[in-house]
């Protein structure tokens, strides 16, 4: 093993013994290809078994290991020690309550995901013997980018408005909502509009754009939110030209 060592500072929080989160430093053996996730698992396996973190796939697919690395929302598996020669500071994801160490409470986020009705609401019901809903590659291209979300929560940690108003439905959920609205098989846009229009909807956004910057899957939530603003503004002024009491209407 090379003699080079790297410093990893972790913000610890063990509710049974820490009143507030505290920093703890570890020294781990350094190599050029070592990810932060590998370093944290080295700590857990070799140095301090009490360290808690979520992880699974090690390859930016599962979205479990989102955390603040050097103050930036990042996936631990996709961030490398070599980019932090001065040592690295790892904290739980911002804007989420800490459950323990690097593990955050995701309940509020999960609830928001559910609220956007993230499933196809068919335009017209089909019976099984009518076969599947067909879609062309061009129709799929419209929403494919937004379907790349892995629910890692980095965009929520990046969004200053989520930090200021935890009720804001947030970038990830709006990107997911937009993904279904753009789907040629879906007919649920009107049902989802009430949430977009509401006080917890798109107008909480101040177009900072950091959500799209930190996304590890190249999803562009900022674009989804912006399109949502335009749609909502149109709905605001033209709603009087539609019959009242539509499904999902908000007053």
């Amino acid at each position: 093993m090379s003699a080079a060592m790297a410093k990893v500072s972790v913000l610890r929080y063990r509710p049974e013994q820490d009143e507030v989160p505290v920093w703890q430093d570890y020294q781990v053996p350094y190599s050029d290809d070592m990810s932060v996730l590998t370093a944290l698992n080295y700590i857990k396996d070799e140095l301090d078994g009490t360290l808690s973190l979520r992880w699974s796939c090690r390859q930016a697919i599962c979205g479990s290991c989102g955390m603040m690395i050097g103050g930036k929302p990042s996936l631990a598996c996709k961030t490398f020690l070599r980019d932090y020669p001065e040592g690295i500071r790892v904290e739980a994801l911002a804007h989420f309550p800490i459950e323990r160490d690097l593990v955050v409470v995701m309940d509020g986020f999960m609830d928001k995901l559910q609220k956007v009705k993230p499933y196809i609401i068919p335009k017209e019901a089909r019976s099984l013997d009518e076969g599947e809903y067909l879609q062309t590659p061009a129709e799929m291209d419209l929403y494919a980018q937004f379907a790349g979300c892995i629910n890692c929560g980095l965009c929520y940690a990046a969004c200053p408005q989520v930090g200021l108003n935890p009720d804001f439905i947030g970038p990830g959920a709006i990107a997911l909502l937009h993904r279904y609205n753009l789907d040629s098989r879906d007919g649920g846009s009107a049902e989802r509009m009430a949430l977009i229009n509401s006080e917890v909807g798109v107008f909480n956004c101040t177009a900072v754009g950091y959500c799209s910057e930190v996304c590890p899957k190249m999803v562009d939530p900022a674009n989804a939110v912006n399109v949502g603003k335009m749609n909502s503004a149109r709905d605001y002024f033209f709603r009087f030209m539609r019959p009242a009491g539509e499904k999902g209407e908000c007053r």
Partner: protein
């Protein structure tokens, strides 16, 4: 849960903000260049901004529309940005700040309308 959702009235202010921002981006810098540098430094003919020319401009219907759009939309753009920046820097301004910010823009707009009206046609 949809029953509990309250519609946001932000589209009104967001559209005014957007229109002002668009106009500022397109002609704001040019207006500063002309009024603050080009005319005072003599890069444009000295009488380009003479009283007679400006009065004629303000008395023309298209001139009036241009002046109103520039003054009013810049106002709405600015106050919206200020109001939201207050929120960003941690001052969670309530109704008072909202009235003060947007009230300023409304007052500026009405003042411009009044001025354009009284200057005649």
């Amino acid at each position: 849960m949809n029953q509990a959702l309250k519609r946001s009235h932000e589209p009104i202010f967001w559209l005014l903000f957007g229109a002002g921002g668009m106009l500022a981006a397109l002609i704001g810098a040019m207006l500063v260049l002309i009024t603050a540098f080009a005319v005072p430094l003599g890069l444009l003919p000295a009488d380009a901004f003479s009283y007679a020319n400006m009065l004629a401009f303000a008395q023309n219907l298209f001139g009036k529309a241009f002046i109103l759009a520039v003054v009013a939309l810049f106002f709405w753009h600015a106050v919206h940005r200020i109001f939201h920046s207050l929120h960003d820097v941690g001052i969670h301004a309530g109704t008072g700040a909202r009235v003060l910010c947007y009230g300023t823009a409304l007052a500026g707009t009405l003042l411009t309308v009044w001025a354009l009206w009284t200057i005649g046609f």
